[in-house]
């Protein structure tokens, strides 16, 4: 309610003091600034969370000195990265080399725009939401390929090639597992998908095929974000740092932040598609709509934690095993799963409350 | 096999071999560079000796000559023997490689080449192992002049 009224008020005020075209542009800029802030804060928070979670898994304490429980640690790190010299390789393709981080970060930012935090807090509710997300998430790989290729470093090039092959393969599974759920909802628009889940979250509605789709989505989503156990792209012990070997300072920070935002996006999509987005469990807080943000973030953070759990427990796959997993296991499972889901929807076997 | 039996057996293969036992816990065989490879392949392949494990290959600077000491063990019969060979001189030391008999010799012989300057015939990849390609001299020789005095006496 509060949130809603604030945005309404600003909207009305803007349109009252200036012509319509200018007001729209100002409004867009304002929204962009808000989202950039969310982006930065979420990125920094996730980095801290990752470090604390890792420390917890690894019998360590983790950063807890800068600010309360180390809350300002990543802020300090960001400032450090800002002040660092931007190094580069001598014969790098300078233009592409500088362009690459922006590709990565902009695609992450664009995907964030369609994420429905709550009913009102939703910047860009297009009717092809899912399609848009899948399309945008594949742009990021261009940045990685460019970065790896233009660095003029063989380790970076190997990392970039691995990234290309990995993202192209796992895109299929991400798309297909989401499409499996679209079979139930019948719409691609994210807000409608969530409305549809008022009769029960999709993971319950779709029961067995939905759970399979969720597992496939989490596996391929982890692979999409190039995180362990699929961090072939960076593969520290094999390639040094992979595609971002030659990046330093803020350019490196862009890659780094984008990785965490991508993880957040994958978790947010999973929340939206499987766990009812901003909807509270059993509708316990339906009367207080702004709590939707809380529920959304709580569910997302749960899934983010799951992805961190993967990262700090599993060893890394080899690049050929990675492709085997996708093309020989996930893809066929996905295709069969989709047919099963279609049958279930057709025969009305979904569980609804 | 006991030392005596080994000496008996190996002594029959080549007439010029010298055997010593004093000052060492093993049976020492001295062989000339010409017969080195013949003796070594015989030691490995003969069913009664079966020295299939070359566990140590050390270069030694004996003063006037350079030498190599091969420590051999049989993994099936568990007897050991030491083969010693010295080069003709120290200006142009050449020996036959035993790389084709024990694969481990490839690296050990490169090390010896690096530090003693002994060349090996038929070695597949005879170049400096530890030192840079343009290093002058062979550090483990006794007459090596250490310009920067990294090792003080």
């Amino acid at each position: 309610m509060i949130l809603l009224s604030i945005t309404e008020n600003i909207h009305n005020w803007l349109f009252s003091i200036m012509p319509e075209g200018v007001a729209s542009i100002v409004e867009m800029v304002l929204i962009a600034v808000v989202y950039l802030t969310i982006f930065a804060v979420a990125g920094l928070f996730l980095v801290l969370l990752e470090r604390r979670v890792a420390a917890w898994f690894q019998l360590r304490i983790g950063p807890n000195r800068v600010g309360f429980q180390g809350l300002l640690q990543t802020m300090a790190d960001a400032i450090k990265l800002l002040t660092k010299e931007l190094t580069g390789t001598e014969r790098a393709d300078k233009f592409l080399y500088n362009l690459a981080p922006y590709f990565v970060i902009i695609s992450a930012l664009m995907a964030l725009a369609v994420i429905p935090f709550t009913k009102e807090f939703h910047a860009f509710d297009i009717n092809i939401g899912i399609f848009f997300l899948i399309a945008i998430s594949s742009i990021g790989v261009i940045g990685i390929l460019l970065g790896g290729w233009s660095s003029n470093n063989k380790f970076a090039l190997i990392g970039a090639m691995r990234s290309g092959v990995q993202t192209i393969s796992y895109e299929l599974s991400v798309g297909l597992s989401l499409l499996t759920m679209v079979v139930i909802t019948g719409t691609l628009q994210l807000s409608e998908i969530i409305e549809f889940q008022k009769n029960g979250w999709l993971i319950v509605q779709g029961h067995i095929p939905a759970i399979i789709a969720f597992m496939v989505f989490m596996i391929s989503g982890t692979a999409e974000t190039n995180r362990a156990p699929f961090d072939m792209v960076e593969a520290e012990s094999e390639l040094g740092a992979g595609f971002h070997t030659e990046y330093s300072g803020m350019k490196f920070a862009y890659f780094f932040l984008a990785e965490f935002i991508n993880m957040f996006i994958i978790a947010a999509i999973a929340t939206t598609m499987f766990f009812g987005g901003w909807l509270s469990p059993f509708g316990i807080t339906e009367s207080i709509p702004w709590l939707g943000v809380f529920w959304f973030l709580a569910k997302t953070m749960g899934l983010v934690f799951l992805m961190m759990w993967f990262r700090w427990t599993f060893p890394r796959l080899r690049v050929d095993q990675l492709l085997t997993l996708e093309w020989k296991y996930l893809l066929p499972i996905n295709l069969v799963n989709m047919v099963v889901m279609a049958l279930i929807v057709w025969l009305n076997l979904t569980i609804r409350f | 096999m006991t030392k005596e039996a080994l000496q008996q057996l190996i002594g029959n293969w080549l007439p010029e071999l010298e055997f010593t036992e004093e000052e060492s816990q093993f049976l020492n065989i001295h062989v000339s560079p010409q017969n080195l490879h013949t003796l070594m392949s015989q030691l490995k392949s003969n069913p009664e000796t079966q020295f299939d494990y070359l566990f140590c290959l050390s270069g030694v600077d004996w003063g006037e000559k350079l030498g190599i000491v091969y420590h051999l063990e049989s993994t099936s019969k568990r007897h050991m023997v030491v083969v010693k060979v010295t080069t003709e001189d120290r200006d142009n030391p050449i020996l036959d490689t035993v790389y084709d008999i024990w694969a481990t010799a490839e690296f050990h012989e490169r090390e010896v080449f690096d530090f003693f300057g002994i060349r090996f015939n038929n070695h597949p990849n005879l170049k400096r192992l530890f030192l840079t390609e343009d290093w002058v001299g062979y550090p483990l020789r006794k007459d090596y002049e250490d310009d920067v005095n990294m090792i003080l006496y």
Binding site: Q58, S237, T313, D320 | Y53, T75, T104
Partner: protein, 373 residues
């Protein structure tokens, strides 16, 4: 006139990369020149010498007591066992009668060193295949051994605890109790290692059937230690040439026949159990007595040649001393296990992927100062 350079070493699809000298997987300053076709390794050529300190040359200058200290710096993870090798060689040459107490303590310390080395290896092995958490688990347990060592020897890594004739100091009064505590602790923690890494499907996929070394090749390449034993080659020096108090205990030589990376992994894990049992058998039976027999201040070995083998955590360490009767050896050669184990890397890594090379190298457990003596 410009001459055309013809590259005959490469096919057009192949390229080469430098792995190291500063690379996370080479565990030190080892440089590997890899010839690669896509991801497949065509040739591995190690380039050594980045930290060569010419210990063998230094030994020709030093007295035998001083040499013991140099050996710490070779394979720093099994420092105590290296010390023991030189001490045993010198003692055998002088025909010293070493007290039983010294022998037992040496064996206990040696086995503890082996456990701590394997702990570190296990952590790094996990890290090399991408499981970063293992590192901290390995270090947690290694830390306990380091603390015990610190209390008794005064140092944590390069202990210098053995001297020709015995031990530098007697054991600390807490030693026995703390070792017993460690045994209890480690018995509960070792199964954790298996739960975290050994049983993991991804880990098994990464290691089973990777980097296979046959028994014949293992012997021919002079592989020793867990690398040789994983190929079914019985090469435990403690079994075949027992030294110190190792003949007083019963232990199994861990043998596997597969010869792949996973077998080498399992051998090391099993070896930790065996070492633990050796320590357990000895810790209650440390005989009373002197911790050291006096030797001359200047040790002069009689003229002759002496060879001593010991089993370090990495394999067979040989010390070959040629003495001319003076205070320092005429020639001293260390036969280091890592050197021979490295020489077979090209043989087993060719044909695998880059990831396989990293996993294979992790199970060879190379310590670069051991190779670059």
């Amino acid at each position: 006139m410009e001459t055309e350079v013809v590259h005959t070493n490469f096919k057009s699809e192949e390229y080469f990369i430098n792995m190291g000298p500063q690379h996370p997987a080479t565990h030190g300053v080892l440089r590997l020149l890899l010839t690669i076709d896509g991801e497949i390794i065509k040739k591995v050529e190690p380039d050594l010498g980045y930290i060569h300190r010419s210990i063998e040359k230094m030994c020709e200058r030093d007295s035998y007591q001083q040499i013991v200290h140099l050996t710490d710096r070779m394979d720093y993870l099994s420092a105590n066992i290296n010390n023991e090798a030189v001490c045993l060689a010198v003692e055998n040459a002088l025909q010293l009668e070493i007290p039983e107490r010294v022998k037992v303590i040496r064996t206990i310390i040696g086995e503890l060193t082996r456990i701590s080395s394997h702990c570190l290896w296990w952590g790094v092995m996990g890290m090399d295949v991408g499981a970063l958490t293992t590192y901290f688990y390995g270090f947690r347990d290694r830390e306990m051994i380091n603390d015990i060592m610190e209390e008794t020897c005064g140092a944590r890594l390069t202990m210098n605890y053995n001297v020709p004739g015995g031990l530098m100091l007697d054991i600390h009064p807490n030693f026995v109790k703390r070792v017993k505590d460690f045994i209890v602790h480690f018995k509960t923690k070792l199964p954790e290692y298996d739960r975290l890494l050994t049983g993991n499907v991804i880990f098994q996929k990464r290691t089973v059937g990777v980097g296979i070394l046959s028994k014949e090749d293992a012997i021919s390449f002079g592989a020793s230690g867990p690398v040789g034993r994983a190929s079914g080659y019985s090469c435990d020096v403690r079994k075949h040439h027992p030294y110190s108090a190792i003949d007083k205990v019963t232990f199994n030589e861990v043998l596997k026949t597969e010869g792949d990376t996973y077998a080498r992994y399992l051998v090391r894990i099993q070896e930790m159990w065996e070492s633990l049992s050796i320590v357990e058998q000895l810790i209650d039976n440390i005989p009373e007595g002197e911790h050291r027999v006096t030797t001359n201040a200047v040790i002069k070995l009689p003229k002759g040649e002496y060879f001593q083998k010991v089993e370090t955590a990495r394999g067979e360490l040989g010390v070959y001393i040629i003495s001319t009767g003076t205070k320092s050896p005429y020639r001293l050669k260390f036969r280091s296990p890592g050197f021979s184990n490295l020489s077979l890397l090209n043989h087993i890594a060719v044909g695998g992927k880059i990831g396989d090379l990293v996993a294979t190298m992790a199970t060879l457990d190379l310590v670069i100062p051991d190779i670059d003596r």
